[in-house]
């Protein structure tokens, strides 16, 4: 009996020992180890490697271990599971503000305004009007603003030229007019080979940032889904956007399929692409000969005023599982130094959130060499993020379903879909109250 129980214990211990918890923050010989999760794309991993190497050289007693966020369908899903399982890292630099409210509600994050130098750290870098919008409803701050990626329209200059379209479309009608010329069957086999645009039509909630949501912000002159904490969808703007995409699909300007074989924009099989400046990094490495430009997101024909868009903000947060909040905070401040902001531009083509971006001489040389990035930096002023609602993922999921039914498959009128979306947002918010 004893022997048997012992062997059972031994086998469990053996299994138990072989498990490796990479997120463990261990202190050995007075060396503090921090785990840092950057976004898993190659550019940001490269940047993280540089920063972590510098940090570890300068701080022999506080060593940082870099590990890209585990792949999954979305970062938010991974972080949520990590909070539940208490396997979060000390620091993560890919926090979508839309998920923040949920993470803080779960007590997953450290309030960074507890550190005495928080005010100076944030105000020295972040534009003043933005700072307040980052405050949690409970009054505290849980994030260090890091970067923003305004979503704009990339267009393939060659495809526009060969189709005889001289100007980049600014409005929906202009977009359709260009699309009629550009969408074509080139080899004459009866199938379209070049499209005006293409979007991932699978019902993945965050894909809507790059079609419905950025167009909605543009069409509504910078509105989001909530007003004063209450759901308030701009019905007119939403309907117009759905109508726009509905036309794109029904007129076959956008294909109804999802493609394999790589990105259609890189293959020059679609003329436009709605993306953030990170697309430039991909284009440079994967298609260096492709001639392209960027333009604001198209807007309804009678649009007045500047064109707003979705700014895909990604911020830095410290998780409450950390045993070394002070050290983690030091690392966060280290991450947002001007010299690494320059590297963020150079390596990843992403826009650091800095008030002095276009005035600081440190960045001047970069923008001179990369004039296209000036357009993104200028657009960054006219961006909106997402609302600080705990249920935002679910709301985007509901929107995604309405978008699919109305725009992609044309089974619901844009007005119907908008009303249904508004109703569903209310249900979600009420349920989760």
């Amino acid at each position: 009996m004893v022997k048997y129980l012992l062997s059972l214990c031994v086998s469990i211990i053996v299994i138990g020992c072989s498990e490796k918890n990479a997120n463990d923050t261990t202190t050995t010989n007075d060396v503090v180890t921090l785990t840092y999760w950057p976004a898993p794309n190659p550019q940001e991993v490269q940047l993280a490697n540089v920063i972590v190497k510098d940090w570890n050289r300068l701080h022999p007693t506080i060593q940082v271990k870099m590990q890209p966020i585990p792949v999954s369908q979305s970062t938010e899903e991974v972080l949520l599971a990590a909070i539940a399982g208490r396997t979060t890292p000390d620091v993560c630099s890919n926090i979508w503000p839309g998920a923040l409210a949920e993470f803080t509600r779960l007590g997953g994050l450290v309030d960074v305004d507890r550190f005495s130098d928080f005010d100076s750290a944030i105000t020295s870098r972040t534009p003043n009007d933005l700072v307040e919008s980052l405050r949690d409803p409970n009054g505290h701050f849980y994030q260090m603003p890091w970067k923003t990626n305004p979503v704009m329209m990339f267009y393939n200059k060659r495809l526009f030229e060969v189709s005889g379209v001289p100007n980049v479309p600014r409005t929906y009608s202009e977009f359709f007019a260009s699309a009629k010329k550009i969408t074509r069957d080139i080899d004459g086999d009866g199938q379209t080979d070049v499209w005006m645009g293409e979007r991932d039509i699978r019902p993945i909630w965050w894909q809507r940032w790059f079609d419905y949501y950025c167009f909605y912000i543009a069409a509504s002159n910078g509105k989001t889904f909530f007003v004063n904490g209450e759901p308030n969808l701009d019905q007119a703007a939403s309907s117009k956007v759905l109508e726009f995409f509905r036309t794109c699909y029904s007129e076959n300007f956008f294909p109804h399929t999802f493609f394999q074989g790589g990105d259609l924009f890189l293959l020059e099989r679609k003329a436009t692409n709605f993306a953030g400046p990170w697309q430039i990094a991909t284009l440079q490495t994967m298609a260096p000969n492709l001639r392209y430009g960027v333009a604001p997101i198209p807007v309804p024909d009678n649009h007045q005023g500047p064109v707003y868009t979705y700014g895909d903000y990604k911020n830095i947060a410290i998780f409450s599982t950390t045993k070394h909040p002070k050290e983690a905070w030091e690392f966060v401040k280290f991450l947002v130094q001007a010299k690494y902001d320059l590297m963020l531009l150079e390596i990843a083509n992403q826009i650091p959130i800095r008030s002095d971006l276009l005035s600081n001489p440190l960045f001047a040389d970069y923008f001179k060499k990369n004039p296209m990035m000036i357009e993104f930096a200028q657009q960054a002023v006219y961006t909106r993020s997402v609302d600080a609602a705990p249920d935002l993922k679910e709301i985007f999921d509901a929107i995604s379903q309405e978008y699919e039914a109305s725009a992609v498959y044309g089974r619901k009128s844009p007005i119907e879909a908008t009303q249904s979306a508004q109703k569903r947002i209310k249900v979600i918010v009420d349920w989760n109250k």
Partner: protein, 269 residues
């Protein structure tokens, strides 16, 4: 004439079931632009897609994880299964029938109902992101117990009595006397549990988020649907081939056992 129709149908069936795999293997060696064709041959065959897969995901580590997890699970299912099966078949104890009915009842519970609470249990025990979480819920298979029990009932009592008189413990009886006589059922249960564990995706996706602990099917799944394959079909097919190959090789050696086990599990289960 009838024979010709018969054989053409049989061969058509063989093509339908086998050609996609051959095509997948060939396509994984082709450059991306050639993949769309039916041909199984290209003059541009190379291992570039595989090199990319190895560069982008820790697939070798995932292979190791899968082998480890599946082996421990299989061993555990066979060892515990035969212990419990033996007790139910050959020993007399209070509550034996009740226990057997309990096991039969457990077999009928759909996993949909226990999935979320089991995940919660892993969280409460603090063992998400560990091998233990991958292994523990499948360490015992009720189907395995039932199959062992069935088989052990047919073993002559005289053999067991003889071993008892020699002073053998129950453990010795199970593993030294009964096992050698029970090769078919041991192999069947082992193959079933190894395959189930090797091909499982849902549970690993739920309890493991840490890359270095991911199993092979899990990492291939996330590689395909997450952005890392960049919608490049060649890479996806190469990853899929790496996932399929070990089991196809095992199958080609032990096909009889595979077929018999899978079919018997269906009939009995």
């Amino acid at each position: 004439m009838k024979q010709i129709i018969k054989y053409s149908l049989l061969i058509l069936g063989a093509v339908i079931f086998a050609y996609p795999f051959l095509w997948m293997f060939a396509a994984s060696l082709k450059p991306e632009i050639e993949i769309g064709g039916f041909s199984l041959w290209s003059s541009n065959f190379s291992f570039k897609n595989y090199e990319q897969v190895f560069a982008r995901i820790p697939i070798a580590r995932a292979f190791f994880n899968s082998v480890l997890v599946s082996s421990i699970t299989t061993l555990s299912v066979v060892v515990f299964g035969s212990m419990i099966g033996y007790a139910l078949a050959r020993l007399n104890f209070r509550g034996r029938n009740a226990l057997y009915y309990l096991i039969l009842f457990t077999m009928m519970i759909p996993f949909q109902i226990t999935l979320i609470p089991q995940y919660v249990l892993m969280v409460k025990l603090g063992i998400t992101d560990s091998y233990l979480a991958l292994i523990a819920p499948t360490m015992i298979s009720t189907l395995g117990i039932v199959m062992f029990r069935q088989f052990f009932m047919s073993i002559p009592q005289a053999l067991i009595d003889a071993a008892r008189i020699d002073g053998c413990s129950d453990f010795k009886i199970i593993f030294a006397v009964i096992w050698p006589l029970s090769r078919p059922v041991v192999i069947t249960v082992a193959i079933l549990s190894f395959m189930a564990s090797w091909n499982e995706v849902l549970w690993p996706i739920i309890v493991v988020r840490e890359r270095t602990l991911m199993t092979l099917p899990q990492i291939v799944t996330l590689f395909t649907i997450g952005g890392q394959a960049e919608a490049l079909l060649g890479l996806q097919l190469a990853a899929a081939t790496l996932l399929a190959l070990p089991i196809i090789i095992a199958y080609s050696f032990f096909q009889r056992y595979f077929i018999d086990s899978m079919v018997s599990s269906g009939v009995k289960g």
